[in-house]
Symmetry: C2
Subunit: 234 residues, 2 copies
DNA sequence: CCATTGCAGCTTCCATGGAAGTTGGTAGTC
DNA sequence: GACTACCAACTTCCATGGAAGCTGCAATGG
């Protein structure tokens, strides 16, 4: 029997192929910074840790490369990608464009769906408010994440959801960092309510602008902060 | 010596791996409808046609699946994906959101870059106008494509370019079809000029709205057309 | 005639080994 | 001492074969 996974979850989902398992395990490890950015691994080493051969690891690495999480250096190894401030800026511009579009689409849905979504969005915002008074940073982050995930996953455009998923995978590490970096938790509540209200009442233009402004403010707040701390990559 | 490629380009770029070659060749074949949507191929068959073993074909198929061009059915084969009208709608909403964002970013670039881009955009629009009077459908399509590619590739956000590239790969076939479907070529010229002018003068809000409106009009013109023809998939 | 079962032929999935390429250190030369 | 050439150790890349799974058809039992 081969010794398994010291640092990496085996992630043995049943029904999934070894490639899927390797993909999920590696992605999780990267998201949670088990592998630091800039770390260069070899397929053989990762295969050993996961208890599979090199082939499924290689194929998982191809998928991760497609998503921008790693780079496969020909004949040299697998490099865990680092994010520069420039990348964070690009990612925020993607969030601004796509989430605004998602909010607009959501506001154009038939009324029952709109209202159900607005209710769920408000519940997430409630969670943020509660976490704020409790001073629970982690809970606040989870609730905020839930709000934004709901917005893109329920707008009816699967491609929007997929795009956001990709950039979120890339920026998860940075997000965990900046959450703790800010002097105070931002007062996103009003902007979240404005978005959900506009969706509830079917005001697509307003919904688009509210979502847009929210992300623009977050970008303009965070980018200078990152620059000032002098983070070159993360 | 193995007999090569009847229907599929070998596409032997030097310096590229066999996987890259297979990827490029398959993508080209799908774009140009050498493989009809719904066609189910086996990795072995494709490998034979391309003159390589099954491994690089399989890895190329993984990349194509990531981009939504094919689906790998476990233990059954590789399925060329078809596009439903719903997919075209989703793709247009992605174009609307991203190209508007790209136009806004472009208008925020330093003046020399803005002007250079606006000049290039205008040259593409000139090409469309010329093709229009000449009645050259193909040339018109190429010039229009050039305009939109310039817009996203020169805005400074590589992620925008990548997203657009992905949806364009998916919708290329549909585009070739709808180009010939319309009763007359659309008068996109004024909208293109409005976009490039706004970029030239650094008016980011105006540029965003111009690009947005242009794609919205195209969507609202094309979708009913596709529905009316009763295309179920393409 | 209809339903069920078993099987043959197909497919992908994954492990493995040889080929080819890159790197960093070392010996040799000026 | 500085520079070049080479070599050993490492890596991925790709072909290939066996294992496992899916599908459709034919044979069998009701």
């Amino acid at each position: 029997m081969i010794a398994r996974s010291k640092a990496v979850e085996p992630a043995s989902e049943r029904g999934a192929s070894l490639v899927d398992n390797a993909y999920a395990a590696l992605k999780h490890a990267i998201r949670e910074s088990v592998f630091a950015p800039g770390y260069q691994a070899s397929a053989g080493e990762l295969a050993l840790r996961l208890g599979v051969s090199r082939t499924p690891v290689h194929e998982a690495a191809l998928r991760l490369q497609e998503e921008g999480l790693v780079r496969i250096l020909p004949k040299r190894g697998i490099l865990i990608c680092a994010l520069a401030p420039q990348d964070i800026a690009e990612i925020y511009d993607v969030l601004i464009a796509i989430e605004a579009g998602a909010a607009e689409l959501s506001a154009r849905m038939p009324e029952p769906a709109r209202i159900a979504l607005a209710d769920d969005l408000d519940r997430a915002t409630d969670g943020m408010a509660q976490a704020l008074v409790a001073g629970d940073l982690t809970a606040w982050g989870r609730a905020d994440e839930a709000f934004h995930r709901l917005l893109v996953e329920r707008c009816g455009n699967g491609r929007f959801a997929r795009i956001i998923q990709t950039v979120n995978d890339q920026s998860h590490r940075a997000r965990m960092l900046t959450l703790r970096l800010r002097p105070r938790l931002p007062s996103s509540e009003a902007e979240h309510r404005a978005t959900s209200d506009a969706i509830r009442h079917g005001l697509s233009g307003l919904a688009r602008e509210a979502a847009r402004r929210h992300r623009i403010r977050a970008r303009d707040e965070l980018l200078p902060l990152i620059e000032s701390v002098g983070l070159r990559h993360m």
